[in-house]
């Protein structure tokens, strides 16, 4: 509960943060809301030598209408995503899912960019933005680049971000009135999902992503493919775990996870189709 010694520097802007990370090298970490990093440090499972605090970079906290998508600044708190009228109108799935992250304390401190960059397969918003076909904007010493959510998650807690890159914006396509559902199955409201499903459906199109069904958030492309070819919801749901590589933990064996994924995908699609 007492972290190892570390240095702390505060950045006033994204540029300064990137310069500081570059200066301090591989053992440096960005600190935003701190709700994933600090618990790991307190358990001494993470021992960064320097924390670059980006929590005060004010121009990264926003939710804007950008035409065909909504742009969300990386430092936007989960609570602001949950309560955003703009998201409620155009991306209600994301606003709803943000309301299921952790508990109220976590939602007031944790940030959208932090949870995406942390790339935890058990977190709600990586999978939700993946289902929605989001694009992430990364800024590095040489400028910015866009990374599709489908290309972003590369392994357990591993993303496509370079060590000196910082996630600055999340761009989520407007849902255009699509039906949607977010299914979070857990034993306590505050917990990570044992299995979660974010899904939307509009005419023949759909997006289905799974929480905690592998080392990364999983896009259930087989389900969407089957739906596009006219499969029934219950038949498509049987393909829920085709892309998954579920792990075992105290809450669920891989077999139980696969079973849950099928049940929850079916329920999600039923709700999204209603």
């Amino acid at each position: 509960m007492i972290p190892a010694a570390f240095d702390y520097v505060r950045a006033g802007s994204a540029e300064e943060a990137i310069a500081l990370i570059g200066e301090h090298g591989e053992d440096a970490k960005f600190l935003a809301g701190g709700h994933s990093l600090l618990p790991l440090m307190k358990l001494r499972l993470a021992q960064p030598s320097v924390l670059v605090d980006i929590g005060r970079v004010e121009d990264l906290s926003y939710i804007r209408d950008a035409g065909d998508h909504i742009a969300i600044g990386a430092l936007t708190r989960h609570m602001d995503v949950e309560k955003s009228p703009l998201l409620a109108e155009h991306v209600p799935l994301l606003a709803h899912a943000a309301g299921h992250v952790g508990d109220p304390q976590v939602r007031h401190r944790g940030t959208m960019g932090g949870t995406i960059a942390h790339a935890d397969p058990a977190s709600d918003l990586p999978a939700t933005t993946l289902a929605l076909g989001a694009t992430y904007v990364a800024q590095g010493p040489n400028g910015t680049r866009e990374i599709a959510a489908a290309d972003f998650y590369q392994g357990f807690l591993e993303s496509a971000l370079a060590a000196d890159e910082m996630l600055t914006e999340i761009r989520v396509p407007k849902m255009g009135g699509a039906g949607w559902s977010f299914q979070k199955f857990n034993r306590r409201a505050q917990d990570w999902a044992i299995v979660g499903v974010a899904a939307w459906r509009r005419n023949g199109d759909s997006g289905v992503a799974l929480v905690n069904m592998g080392s990364t958030p999983i896009l259930a492309t087989s389900v969407s493919g089957a739906l596009a070819q006219g499969a029934s919801v219950s038949d498509a749901a049987q393909l829920a775990a085709e892309e998954a590589e579920p792990q075992s933990d105290l809450n669920a064996s891989p077999e139980y996870r696969v079973h849950l994924a099928k049940v929850l995908v079916r329920r999600a699609l039923e709700q999204a189709s209603a």
């Binding site: 190892a4 199955f185 034993r187 049940v263």
Partner: protein
Amino acid sequence: MTDLQERPAGVLGSRLLRREDPALLTGEAKYTNDLNVPGALHLAMVRSPYAHARITSVDLSAALAVPGVVAAYSGADLAGLWAGPMPCAWPVTEDMKNPPHYPVATGTACYVGDGVACVLATSATAARDAAELVDVQYEPMEAVVDLEDALSDRVVIHTDLGTNKSYQWDLKIEGEPGQVDAAFAAAAYTVKERYVQQRLIPVAMEPRAVCAVPQPFGGDMTLYSATQVPHILKVMTALTLGIPEHQMRVVAPSVGGGFGSKLNVYAEELLCVALARKHGAPVRWNETRSENHLATIQGRGQIQHIELAADADGKLTAVRVRLLADMGAYLQLVTPGIPLLGAFLYAGVYDLPLAYDFSCTSVFTTLTPTDAYRGAGRPEATYAIERAMDALADTMGIDPMELRRRNFIRKEQFPYTAMTGLVYDSGDHDAAATKAAELADYDGVRARQAAQNVPGAKKVIGIGQASYFEMCGLAPSRVLASLNYSAGGWEAATVRVLPTNKIQVVTGTAPHGQGHETAWSMIVAEKMGVAPEDVDVLHSDTAIAPLGLDTYGSRSLPVGGVAIAMACDKVIDKAKKIAAHQLEADEADLEFAGGTFSVKGTPDRALPLAAIAFEAFTAHNLPDGMEPNLEAHTTYDPPNFSWPFGTHICTVEVDTETGQVDVLQYVAVDDCGVQVNPLIVEGQVHGGVIQGLAQALFEEAVYDDDGNLKSGTLAEYLVPAASDVPSLTLGHTVTPSPTNQLGVKGIGEAGTIGAAPAVINAVVDALSHLGVRDMPMPASPQNVWAAINAATQGASK
């Protein structure tokens, strides 16, 4: 929803808000960790990462080089500091095996978390950093995690003992020889069940904290500790460290919960005192949450085999119980006695003839030691008999409520001498069950269930009951003697009227969340005719309250509270003599009401207690030979346990696709006798029920085969939050205890005792149409899903 009953007019029985709460809720309350102790050194423990390993070397050099580090020690370095091993106060049998247990292990580490070295530094952070640098070399040995494996002695943990078996304790009661076997042979129905009481981590909100402060001269030592038992801790620390008892003072500041886990004498308490003496400086230690999971005692940990024999009507004719109890790696303060606290309750609330056969075998494992956890033996016993009663009802094809009613000890049988020889002084189980059934709409739920639980239904409902007797108010000292317990069960109280008619109460109870200050002030207010706010309650400091046996086992009110009432009576008796003297009346002609003595029939000849208090103080005009001041002391040794009882009924809905259990309704009807403060009673029932429900649905200390704790943080060890539990419907009946003047019985553990079997009975009931007959605890979604699969696949074969 809370059932608000009519209230009596006096202070006693009113819903007075707890005087403790403003300080607790605003953060003003001072816990051990809040004490400002200049110059204190900080202790950090180095703990074994292995469940079972020989310690081959301990290299402290890197730790000693850390700036701020004052000293570092291996277990061997400290061997000279102990006058004896850590205490176990409950040698339940003559031949009980008890391995020597020292605050820091020397040759062998016996569980993950066992202390193997320690560091002292000028800051907590330096101590922690240095502890990480202590280089301990281990030779790992095989872990012993499974109780049946432990019993086989495949791997013997304490080689000097030659076995993992600590003791076997038997209780066989037969009206005539062979009655149990004969009853089983002649039974119309029998059931034979095996239940597992999973290990639980108590998770008090405040982890343990210790601060030992030596006096600069003379050898006096003050130990501040987050403990439930300052008095027991004082004696045990003195004995274990060879400190004269009168030089030991123990203070328990505000203590943030215990649930039994702080009813102990811990390595870190002894270490802080020993090192404070050695270094001549205060030494403090604060447990981290992770350490709390590893190094504070755990609860439960039993495998229960229970068999019931019944006649054609379902009347019980014999009960046979075989327990296998997990002691963990060592015996802590009362570890071996915990299963025996349940030994007397395996017949539950039922009228059993003299045909009872109980045996408990206890074994060591390479896991954290077990000890008292809310209910301590009694929830386990109640779970077994109440689950087995449902199994018997299922076997007979009758409603479990009906089976219970056929077997209840009837109201007119009280006082009832149980087959164990214990006297249940009062009870009315049928009334409690009837009230609970009404509140739960038992018949209505059964009707809904018949319509809803059809083949293929995705949501099914079940209703489960548990009726219990709680043996609490520990305890008559002579009964404890018969169980080889090393202390008595009395409680002490002093009531002192100050010159201005304010009252000080000194109690030997040691509250850690129960609200004793509020409750005890109400008892005194009622007795003495003063306002509760005019009563101060002093406790939990052995210099202020030197006599006491502390708080555990729902004992504080039925023993400590009654002692206070008796001390009040002594004060009133003395005050009456003064009043008679001053009013020039005969003592027999005086009555005391509303804080005033008056002559019967002549109410204007009266003297208020306030006036007498001042007279007693000035001593200007007291009866000849009377000592000044109004003060009385009582030590009360209860003649019997107290016997709270009740019925809990739980209604659940189970999602048969996912295995998720939702509690639709929870009804608790508890009878704790007279209620001093219904608000506090309800709080105790709420907390207790949720803790029992948590065992049924959420919590489990999970170890892997190597003895590593997999549920090592609160992310894996699922303590439910408010959003995860139902609202409770509370009701009560009031059957005053006939053994004490207040009619009180205790309510600290009742909820925990009733909840786990009620919930699991409901879950099994919901799935019985699918062929499910039992459910492991916790009834997690995965466990429920697996049970449904096993039952339905079994049926399809």
